[in-house]
């Protein structure tokens, strides 16, 4: 157990937050997408996190799964769209841009917290190296 274990743990945290940000970006980018490979409108994706044991008491974090949100999207009346049904309604993706922005901010703050931890570990290592240097 040394400072590098601590850095590995912080790195796992940063990696997870970056994945979250990627998923949120893809949700925002596809906020208006009505056609996907699976068919139908885009479904917003969500990241589930899981603690990953490092050493006895220490745990890093990893992405457990990326799941699709099954909530039905909003139906808007737009008969001119090629994706409209018989009544002229188009089902839009279930992405709420506001919600995604809030989640993005949360992920970004969590990333910063992990960066602060890495900085503290770096400072400690540098201080230990200064012992005996006159």
């Amino acid at each position: 157990m040394d400072l590098f274990t601590a850095m590995d743990i912080s790195a796992s945290g940063m990696r997870v937050q970056r994945t979250r940000m990627n998923v949120i970006s893809s949700n925002i980018a596809n906020a208006q997408t009505t056609r996907t490979q699976e068919g139908g409108p885009y479904k917003r994706k969500d990241v589930t996190l899981k603690a990953k044991t490092f050493e006895d008491a220490l745990s890093g974090v990893e992405v457990d799964s990326i799941t699709s949100d099954p909530t039905p999207g909003e139906r808007i009346y737009n008969p001119s769209s090629p994706d409209a049904d018989q009544e002229g309604y188009v089902t839009m993706p279930n992405v709420n841009t506001m919600e995604e922005m809030v989640n993005l901010l949360d992920a970004s703050r969590s990333f910063e917290a992990n960066t602060a931890a890495v900085k503290a570990q770096k400072d400690m290592a540098t201080k230990a190296l200064s012992i005996g240097r006159q």
């Binding site: 157990m1 040394d2 400072l3 274990t5 601590a6 850095m7 743990i9 912080s10 796992s12 945290g13 997870v16 937050q17 979250r20 996190l49 899981k50 603690a51 490092f54 006895d56 008491a57 220490l58 745990s59 890093g60 974090v61 949360d106 992920a107 703050r109 969590s110 917290a113 992990n114 602060a116 931890a117 503290a120 570990q121 400072d123 400690m124 201080k127 230990a128 200064s130 012992i131 005996g132 006159q134």
Partner: protein
Amino acid sequence: MGDIFGKMWTDLKNLMDYQVNRQAVISSNLANQDTPGYKAKDISFDEHLKSRLALTRTNPNHRQTRAVSINYRTYTDPYERIGNDGNTVDLDREMMKIAQNNILYSSAVQIIEQKISGLQNVIRSIR
């Protein structure tokens, strides 16, 4: 004090080891601040400190113990945060712990540096 590399060095080393361990525990709390159900952890070595202070030499011929292996006690941080995902990591609290830990680590390093420069003074004055 028996010799120039006496008990104090071992104690300072143990203190620094503890702080490195605590830093890792804080890191895992921060890494898991968005994991549902994760409980914030902390470590302490007060039991070790107590037993260390209780050690008294009953006979001057007894050897002083040098290498002490420390078992830190990991416990769930009793501080509770109100949330709906069962996660108890409080960002501000963890940041405070990082600052505290860093200052204590620096002070241990500073004491060691002072000791070294003291020894160097003695060596220089002999010449």
